[in-house]
C-alpha cells in the first residue's frame, strides 16, 4: 500500500518519451510549471482539489504540449503570453473532454475574485482577455471570473472573445497544438488592434473616435463577429505584390495641409532654451507647409469615380495623395500628388482592376509618409484572389492604430476630415 504524506503525480505514466527520469519539486499553486528539457515538474503536493487540478493541468502539458513552445511562438510571430494562454485553454478543455474532473479549478475562489478585481481596476484590456482565455475550462474558476467580469464593458467583451476562441479551437474537435497556434494567431491579431493608439494631431474633438479602448475593441469585435468561428476566421490570405506607379506631376498646386514649427523670438512658452545665447529665438511658431498624406482605396466596393478622386485632391493641397487597386494577384499604387504638384487628369483614376489585394502593402507605404495620415477605405480588405479574412482585416486595423492612420469609410467623410485638417492649420 502506498502511504505518502506528499501527493506525488505520475508524469512517467503520461510521458510519451520512454526512459525519461522525472523529478518533482513542490511549489505553491500559482508557481506550477513543467520544464520538459530538464524533466522537472514543479507542482503543489497537497490534497486540495485545486492542487489536484493543477497537477493534472501540468500532466496535460507533458502529454500534449510540445517541449519547446517558444520555437512555435517565434516561428509564427506570436507573443509568448498569447500562446501560453491559448495553450492553457486547450489543456483545460481537453482534460474536461477526456473525463478529468476540472470543476474545482486550480485556484481558490477568493484568489480569483481578487485577481479579477485587480485586472478590472487596472483596465488592462490585453491582460483581461488573456486571463479569461487561460481560465476557460477551469470549472469554478471560469464561472467566478465570468461573474466578476460580466457587466463591465470590457469584461463582457473578454468573455465573448474567450468563448469565440474556444469555438475556434474546437472547430474540428480534439484540438492539437496546431489548433492552439491557429487560435493564438487569431487572438494575437485581435490584441494587436487593441494596443494604445499613436496620437494623431487631428482637429479638436476628432481624436476620440480612435482613442477609447472600449470603442476600439467594439469595432474589432464587429470584424471578428462577421467572420465567425469557422475555418475562414483563422485562415490568413497572403497579400499581393504591389507596384508603385509615379506618373509625372505636372500641375503645381497652391495651399498647404501640413504644418511645421519654426524658431521665433516672440511667443509665450519658451521651447528652445538652448538658442538663448545663439540668436534668442527660444519660442516656436506654427506655420503651414507641405505635409500630410492621403491613401485612397479604388477597389470596386468603393465605387469611386475620377471626380471623387479629384475632390480629394482638391481638399488635400500640399499633401501626398495616392490611390491603389488590384488585380487577382497583384496591384498598383499610383502617386497622384506630392511636394505641391499633381499628375495630369488622365491619371486620376483607378490604377489597376477592381480588387483590393494590396491593402497592407499600400498601408505600409502610407506609414512611411508624412503625418497626418488619412486612409479612405470602407474597411473591406482582401488578399490574393480578392479573398477576405479576419486576420487580414485585423492586421490592417492594427497597423492603422500603431501608425496613427485615420480611416474614413467613404469620400464624403474623407473630404470632411481633410477640410477640417486644412482649416485647423495656421
Amino acid at each position: 500500500m502506498v502511504t505518502d504524506r506528499n501527493i506525488y503525480p505520475l508524469p512517467e505514466v503520461v510521458d510519451n518519451k520512454d526512459r525519461r527520469k522525472w523529478s518533482i519539486e513542490p511549489t505553491q499553486r500559482m508557481g506550477a510549471r513543467v520544464y520538459p528539457k530538464r524533466s522537472l515538474l514543479v507542482v503543489p503536493l497537497d490534497a486540495s482539489p485545486q492542487s489536484q487540478m493543477t497537477r493534472n493541468h501540468e500532466l496535460g502539458h507533458i502529454r500534449w504540449s510540445p517541449p519547446k513552445p517558444e520555437v512555435a511562438a517565434s516561428r509564427n510571430k506570436l507573443d509568448m503570453d498569447v500562446l501560453q494562454a491559448t495553450e492553457d485553454m486547450r489543456i483545460n478543455t481537453k482534460l474536461a473532454d477526456i473525463g478529468i474532473d476540472t470543476s474545482s479549478g486550480s485556484l481558490s475562489n477568493n484568489v480569483v475574485k481578487a485577481f479579477a478585481d485587480d485586472l478590472l481596476k487596472s483596465n488592462n484590456v490585453r491582460q483581461l482577455i488573456l486571463v479569461m482565455v487561460a481560465v476557460t475550462g477551469q470549472g469554478e474558476n471560469e464561472e467566478t471570473f465570468k461573474d466578476k467580469l460580466s457587466g463591465h464593458p470590457i469584461g463582457d467583451k473578454a468573455i465573448e472573445i474567450a468563448g469565440m476562441a474556444r469555438k475556434i479551437m474546437w472547430y474540428k474537435g480534439n484540438p492539437s497544438f496546431r489548433d492552439t497556434v491557429r487560435t493564438a494567431k487569431w487572438l494575437q491579431a485581435l490584441l494587436n488592434g487593441t494596443t494604445p493608439p499613436t496620437r494623431v494631431k487631428l482637429p479638436w474633438g476628432m481624436n476620440g473616435k480612435s482613442g477609447g479602448a472600449d470603442d476600439q475593441l467594439e469595432s474589432l469585435m464587429k470584424i471578428i463577429r462577421n467572420f465567425g468561428t469557422g475555418r475562414g476566421a483563422t485562415r490568413k490570405v497572403p497579400w499581393g505584390k504591389m507596384k508603385i506607379d509615379t506618373p509625372p506631376r505636372v500641375h503645381k498646386v497652391d495651399g498647404y495641409m501640413g504644418k511645421g514649427k519654426r524658431a521665433s523670438d516672440e511667443g509665450v512658452i519658451p521651447t528652445r532654451p538652448h538658442r538663448l545665447l545663439i540668436d534668442g529665438r527660444v519660442f516656436s511658431r506654427v506655420r503651414r507647409q507641405h505635409g500630410g498624406s492621403v491613401l485612397v482605396d479604388c477597389s470596386g466596393s468603393m465605387s469611386l469615380e475620377p471626380k471623387d478622386l479629384k475632390n480629394i485632391l482638391a481638399h488635400s493641397p500640399g499633401a501626398t495623395v495616392a490611390c491603389y487597386s488590384g488585380n487577382t494577384h497583384d496591384g498598383v499604387l499610383r502617386v497622384l500628388a506630392q511636394d505641391g504638384r499633381q499628375v495630369k487628369d488622365e491619371f486620376v483614376a483607378a490604377p489597376a482592376g477592381g480588387a483590393n489585394v494590396i491593402d497592407k502593402p499600400a498601408l505600409d507605404w502610407l506609414t512611411k509618409q508624412a503625418r497626418p495620415r488619412v486612409w479612405c477605405c470602407d474597411g473591406q480588405v482582401t488578399g490574393i484572389g480578392d479573398r477576405q479574412s479576419a486576420l487580414n482585416t485585423l492586421e490592417c486595423e492594427s497597423l492603422c492604430r500603431r501608425s496613427g492612420i485615420v480611416r474614413r469609410d467613404n469620400v464624403g467623410l474623407a473630404v470632411e476630415l481633410l477640410k477640417k485638417l486644412s482649416r485647423s492649420r495656421k
Binding site: 502506498v2 505518502d4 506525488y8 512517467e12 505514466v13 510521458d15 497537477r55 502529454r63 492539437s176
Partner: protein, 171 residues
C-alpha cells in the same frame, strides 16, 4: 548436531547459490559471504562438527539486490562479484499479466528511483485484482475508485487521472 545450510550444500555439490536481496543481510551474514565467495583454491570452512569443507568444482554465487551495489555493499564483497548485470526493465511477462490499461503505468512507475514516488508492480497487481473483485458488486467506475483508494491511498486520484491522461491521444 550439524545440518548443512544452502551455502555448504552448494559447496559440497558444486552447485549455484542464489542470495536474494543481498543488501538486506547484516554484518555477520556479509562476513560469512566473504568466506563463502573466497577464491576456490584457498576457500575452506571448519564446521562445528570438526569437518573441513572446500567448494567443489562448478560452485558459483549469484546475488540480487535493489539499488546501486556501490552505494550499499562493502567494497570487499563487491569485489567477489566480477560480473554485474543492471536490470532496468520490468520482466515483460510480469507486465503482460496485467490488463492493457495499466501495463504501461506499471512498467514506468515501478522503475522510479525515488522510493516515495515509486509504485511497485505488486501494487498494480493488487489494484487490478481488487478492481476485478469489486466489479461484481459495483459499477466499473466505482470499483476502480474503491480499489485505487485501498491500494494507492492518498495518491489514488492522481494515479487514476494519470491513467486517463496517459491513455488519451497525444499531441
Amino acid at each position: 548436531m550439524w545440518h548443512d545450510g544452502p551455502a555448504i550444500a552448494a559447496w559440497r555439490i558444486g552447485g549455484r547459490l542464489v542470495v536474494n536481496e543481498i543488501q538486506r543481510g547484516g554484518a555477520d551474514c556479509h562476513a560469512l559471504l566473504l568466506a563463502i565467495t573466497d577464491d576456490p583454491e584457498i576457500a575452506q570452512i571448519d564446521l562445528p562438527s570438526g569437518e573441513k569443507v572446500k567448494p567443489a568444482a562448478g560452485f558459483a554465487v549469484v546475488a540480487t539486490m535493489n539499488g546501486d551495489p556501490k552505494e550499499v555493499l562493502d567494497p570487499a564483497l563487491q569485489d567477489r562479484f566480477p560480473v554485474t548485470i543492471n536490470i532496468d526493465k520490468v520482466h515483460p511477462e510480469a507486465i503482460a499479466q496485467l490488463p492493457p490499461d495499466v501495463q504501461q503505468a506499471a512498467e514506468k512507475t515501478a522503475l522510479i528511483d525515488n522510493e516515495e514516488r515509486r509504485i511497485s508492480v505488486r501494487a498494480w497487481y493488487a489494484f487490478v485484482h481488487l478492481r476485478q473483485k469489486l466489479m461484481k458488486s459495483y459499477s466499473e467506475q466505482e470499483a476502480q475508485q474503491l480499489a485505487a483508494t485501498a491500494v494507492f491511498n492518498t495518491r489514488a486520484q492522481d494515479a487514476l487521472d494519470a491513467l486517463v491522461i496517459g491513455a488519451s491521444q497525444g499531441g
